[in-house]
Symmetry: C2
Subunit: 338 residues, 2 copies
């Protein structure tokens, strides 16, 4: 156990995590959607296991290194939803695919050809407006599906996009075109926690990839999909300076909370919701007070703007059950940039 | 050695590091300034040792955990330039002070009293306009200096501020007032790489705390204190998608580069300076091209916006000598949030 008086540290409320997992799983079950759970939010095999036990079809890993950690911890169905490029990545993917059922996304013929020979499911990534990766047209996506189907090892499994677009016509048209060419389109996946609870209004989708739902953060509070009291990931931080009546300085800055922006400042101070975390230095948070604020030495709790990047900064997380700190978990997939 | 084809990874050019260290040390020596080198930029005991060997008087650590790593690696003079609050921190500071000469900053009577009994040098932190920590008035600072002098263990050593303000009158007046009260003001320190080369125009200062100078980054390029070719810290990243003629997607996003902003986008692509890194997703960089750009699979080099926070994301760094990758160093003080 770490010294809970020695801040800042990250903590997770496992009761809230389980409720958040159950709620999203119930939503997906009710609407016949497969839930695929992103491990990028927590980077913890323990929570990935809870997601799978609750009914998640697979764990989604944003990096091969993250997938390797999850597989080693017993996760057996993994989706890597971005193009894997280069000999080193292909070699590692082949090794991973020997120990787990792996699905990968491709968005170009070059990437698909690079994977030839590996026994993996493949989904074609479609750019439905976000402007990141993905095939740019129905014809490109359909031609890529045919190529995947023709290459050894690869099994064409369906389509994916990120995030779920308001207009589903690109995916629907691509599905029709691929079926017209004689291939089956098993999976069509959308993603993103902010729009997650509207996925059932998109009849073109049968899969939902979600990550942040497990914790919640200021961004998803602002999106209306979680309440502050259900947010499971928090940072405990101490007031180390009270230079003026309207200013308190916390020992948590961008190296603890990141500089990812949110609806209002750099996080929500649970005990002082009117206080505004207006700025983060590397190691300090600048709290602006309009009324009574925390005293020098007081420990306060911050819900971060963006849970995924905060998990990636910390080596360990304090785990709470029934409000009590019961364990410290190493964040096993933290920092897996490759 | 890590597989240099397996991106993204962080690399540091040790020849450039040594030139950057020598240049800043020469500037300080010429102007009779003590150089205090921030380890927060690199988080590497190896580079801290180079800074001390070149003439740095002390190593500046933004967290006690960082100081513990540096002390364990042989650094013997350490400044912790922010208030240490709470029993756990005080206990750790006392242990550290048994093995190194330690200076700490205080900005309130409560913090000073909390440190009583520990054998440390103490500087009084003054808020000269930045609006973070620090005494708010000449009288507050002088009274705090007297308290420090009266408390057991603590040795009043001088004043510090961050960053160096345009107007030095607060520090000069505080010095006069403390001397009037019969105490000696040995050290008066300013800081910040962007304004570092103007420190000699501030006669009130005799110390300069600097961190980023050792690497350089897009922010310090914009401040005019380093050229891109002298920037020693870079991220190597692969183009994993070329969805359109004007878009390339890199396998480095905010979990590799952070989302800290800079003068233009999220970093400078060395091989394609006209390409703009307009957006970072967690694991992808969005490159906007106006002319020829990198091909799918091509590995490119990015100078990040802010070196300090990038070092804090990576477990290891590839070290180059004479352009050749010669070693991989663990980033020993990475993630020391406490």
């Amino acid at each position: 156990m770490i010294d809970l008086g020695d801040t800042p540290f990250l903590e997770v409320d496992l009761d809230k995590v389980e409720r958040n997992i159950a709620r999203m799983q119930r939503y997906c079950d009710e609407h016949g959607l497969a839930l695929l759970a992103h491990s990028k939010t927590h980077k913890l095999p323990q929570i990935a296991a809870l997601q799978v036990a609750a009914g998640a079809r697979a764990v989604v890993c944003q990096k091969l290194g993250e997938a390797e950690v999850m597989q080693a911890a017993g996760i057996t169905d993994i989706l890597i939803p971005y193009p894997l490029v280069g000999e080193a990545k292909v070699r590692r993917l082949a090794a991973l695919a020997e120990h787990a059922r792996v699905t990968v996304a491709v968005d170009s013929p070059e990437v698909a050809r690079g994977l030839a020979g590996i026994e993996v499911d493949v989904v074609v990534d479609c750019d439905t407006g976000f402007g990141r990766t993905g095939a740019q047209s129905v014809d490109d996506a359909a031609t890529l599906a045919e190529l995947v189907d023709a290459l050894p090892g690869l099994r064409f499994a369906g389509l994916m996009t990120h995030p779920t677009p308001a207009d589903g016509e690109f995916l629907a048209a691509t599905r029709r075109e691929i079926e017209r060419r004689g291939l089956e389109v098993g999976r069509v996946g959308g993603g993103g926690t902010p729009g997650s609870l509207r996925t059932h209004t998109h009849p073109e989708l049968n899969e939902l990839r979600v990550g942040v739902y497990v914790y919640g953060d200021c961004r998803t509070i602002a999106a209306g999909v979680i309440e502050p009291e259900d947010c499971a990931l928090r940072v405990r931080t101490t007031v180390v300076s009270r230079p003026t009546a309207t200013r308190a300085i916390l020992d948590a800055g961008s190296k603890t909370l990141t500089s990812d922006d949110g609806p209002d400042g750099y996080g929500l101070v649970v005990e002082y919701p009117d206080a505004r975390l207006v700025k983060v230095s590397e190691e300090h948070g600048h709290l602006e007070l309009s009324g009574p604020g925390p005293a020098l030495g007081e420990v306060v709790t911050v819900i971060p703007n963006h849970a995924c990047v905060v998990s990636n900064l910390h080596d360990q997380v304090v785990v709470r059950r029934g409000g009590e700190a019961v364990e410290v978990w190493p964040i096993a997939a933290r920092g897996k940039v490759r």
